[in-house]
């Protein structure tokens, strides 16, 4: 096939990137485990830590505006925000250790952390 000859490099590159994406996803998926609590930071500074097994709501005030974080049913989600793109709200809930919700305009990062009994044992069960 003529087209395949002239585009051999392209096809190999695309295949390599698809394999890379799949391998990364598999790696993250295999290593995932439920988190113990969420850590909320504004511009790199931790402002709050909430356990995931207790339902709660946390208003986050930043220089850029405010966000409302809800913890319910073992997962945390950004309920509302006044940032322009609302990507943090659209990201949906997070529950696995290492997952995060990021609101770039406000510099807010919500990260799921290992619980006290999490870490290696929880990951290898």
């Amino acid at each position: 096939m003529e087209w395949l000859k002239t585009h051999r490099g392209d096809v190999l590159l695309i295949a390599a990137l698809l394999v890379l994406a799949g391998a990364l996803a598999l790696f993250l998926r295999l290593g995932r485990h439920s988190g113990g609590y969420v850590s909320v930071s504004v511009r790199g500074e931790v402002v709050a830590e909430l356990p995931l097994d207790q339902d709660a709501s946390l208003p986050i005030e930043t220089e850029g505006g405010h966000n409302l974080l809800i913890v319910a049913g073992g997962a945390a989600r950004m309920e509302s925000a006044d940032c322009p793109d609302l990507l943090c709200v659209k990201m949906g809930p997070v529950r696995w250790a290492g997952e995060s919700i990021v609101c770039l305009p406000h510099g807010v990062v919500v990260t799921v952390e290992d619980g006290p009994d999490g870490g290696f044992d929880a990951a290898s069960r």
Binding site: R8, L13, L17, A25, G44, D85, L87, L104, P105, G107
Partner: protein
Amino acid sequence: MNAKRIARFGLLVALALALSYAESLLPSPGVPGVKLGLPNLVVVFALYRLGTADAWALSLVRAALASVLFGSGVSLAYSLAGAALSLLVMCLLKQSGKFSETGVSVAGGVAHNGGQIIVAALLLETTRLAWYLPVLCLSGTVAGVLIGVVSALLVKRVPEFKS
């Protein structure tokens, strides 16, 4: 730079900016950084038809203007980092001679997303953004294929802009 070249350059910057704006109107799929990369049509075109120097100027001017006009305060760093890493990789791949516009565009799309993740990780002082890598790698590849196929047609068929 003669007048004709300046006029062409301005036209392409305007076109890339218009595409940036058009893209900002599209609904976001919910993961930051997942997008088509419409302005990259113009950057790939410029890279092949005007040369490396003009493509760099176009891409950086486009990124800076777009983030000032359509972005929020911190978006300048993301925008420039994505544009610069993307174009660097595209230049290298083009010079290797092993790839067509499609391959170059695919690598550019993935590199753009990679550059933005790196800046986000630095600015937010977190390494936990690794969770976005698989989906951004996939979306960069798919968007790169679409943009690359159209760019290849443009490079082949647009009659003007021979420098």
